[in-house]
Symmetry: C2
Subunit: 230 residues, 2 copies
DNA sequence: TAAAATAGTAAACACTGTAAACAATTGTAA
DNA sequence: TTACAATTGTTTACAGTGTTTACTATTTTA
């Protein structure tokens, strides 16, 4: 079923609102986002925006959806630069893409993983989208795992029962891979997010100045060694 | 030199402003902090607050100073629960304290390491205070290192030259310990912060439910094994 | 006791998100 | 083509924010 002319215009306006919002966020940061500012830049008045988004939170949710999509794509693209059986390469490339995307889209990353905007409540519908991002990471580790390419001794550590039970429960809800893989993925995610987040909030640059990339690369390689990925 | 009566009252009011601010932050989150709200709760009008803090950012800076102090104390207290030569114990205890402080003071932690408030610019004077927190972590690792208790193979990885050069430059500015120690400390900080931050922003609880502590403990033990700490 | 410093208020300005009422535009059906 | 309906936008208004200015009490000091 084709889009009517009106629907096309409507979608275009929605698009323009989003891109104007991103422009604003890029300039003044996510916390400085303002409906009135968006409207002003678009040459209309603020209440008009309410025809397109229920309220400011709805717009923020749409922005988050958009950002998660871009982020996940970046991870997938990074992963895709290496052949499917080059598990170590895929892991490095994906981690590198993770960090680079964040550096190139700092405000976007902070919007996703930092303190949200004034009183914004994380929308339910974002859960699955966020999970998709994680699945890329979990997938890379999981595929390496089932291929027997993860040989780190620390991988063989026995998980405490409470975690084991928890991960098994997840499996019943359709989560792929074993508990070990999930544990490794959550661990890797924590590490990458930690570096990224500290860097974006300027806690690393005091120590590292221009050598941040070297630091991150070094730690990614270390993670690979810990996993015994080869 | 004793405090005059007026100075005592002034300090008391400053204190009351701070505690009221913390109360507000605890209730509605850091982004919901409002000068008018503070004044309201204190039974005065908003402009009166300007006699005590130059503007909202100055108050936030004071809050950050306060939070950093509390945070650093928590780390030191955790470290202090083990004897000076029990390096492995000190490391675990400090990491545990890190996470626990964050869980008990989520809004405070987010204020320190998350997206700051609407348009707030990180004040210069916070640099040294923030560094003091890091020095606790670096100290624990550094003391273990000089005592020869860090025997992990991954510790012996050769640092890329750019990092080496950078760390040596830091030494000239009075940073203690070698480049290796700084690298290990930054790495550990990234990991702990990553777990903490993901947890506070609810990205882990979906996977871990009530088993978050088990996850964190497990990863702390893993870090110890990686460091070869014993 | 007079002067100076301090603490607080009231009113105003420029912002913000949002709701209600209304006008203008566009699309559809008789 | 005309009449109606749906949609899009504006105007106005309200309640909230940080902040400045002018003014008034109060307290301390000389």
């Amino acid at each position: 079923m084709a889009q009517t002319r009106r629907e096309k215009l409507r979608d275009a306006t929605r698009e323009e609102i989003m891109s104007t919002a991103w422009k604003q966020i890029g300039e003044v940061g996510a916390s400085g986002l303002s409906l009135r500012g968006i409207a002003r830049e678009m040459g209309m008045t603020a209440p008009g925006l309410y025809r397109y988004y229920k309220d400011r939170d709805a717009l923020v949710t749409a922005l988050l959806m958009d950002a998660f999509g871009s982020f996940t794509s970046a991870l997938e693209t990074g992963r895709g630069t290496r052949k499917a059986d080059d598990h170590a390469g895929r892991f490095s490339a994906m981690c590198k893409s993770y960090f680079q995307w964040a550096v190139q889209n700092p405000q976007r990353y902070m919007l996703l993983f930092g303190t949200p905007i004034q009183g914004y409540m994380f929308a339910e519908e974002l859960g699955p989208v966020a999970r998709r991002s994680f699945l890329v990471l979990q997938g890379v580790i999981g595929e390496a795992y089932v291929a027997g390419k993860i040989k780190g001794e620390l991988t063989a550590l026995r998980l405490p029962t409470s975690l084991k039970v928890q991960y098994e429960a997840l499996g019943k809800f359709g989560m792929p891979y074993t508990g070990t893989v999930t544990q490794l993925a959550l661990s890797a995610w924590s590490m990458i997010h930690g570096m990224t987040s500290l860097y974006l909030y300027n806690y690393l640059s005091g120590f590292l100045q221009g050598s941040v990339d070297a630091f991150v690369d070094f730690e990614i390689e270390k993670m690979k060694k810990i996993l015994g990925l080869e």
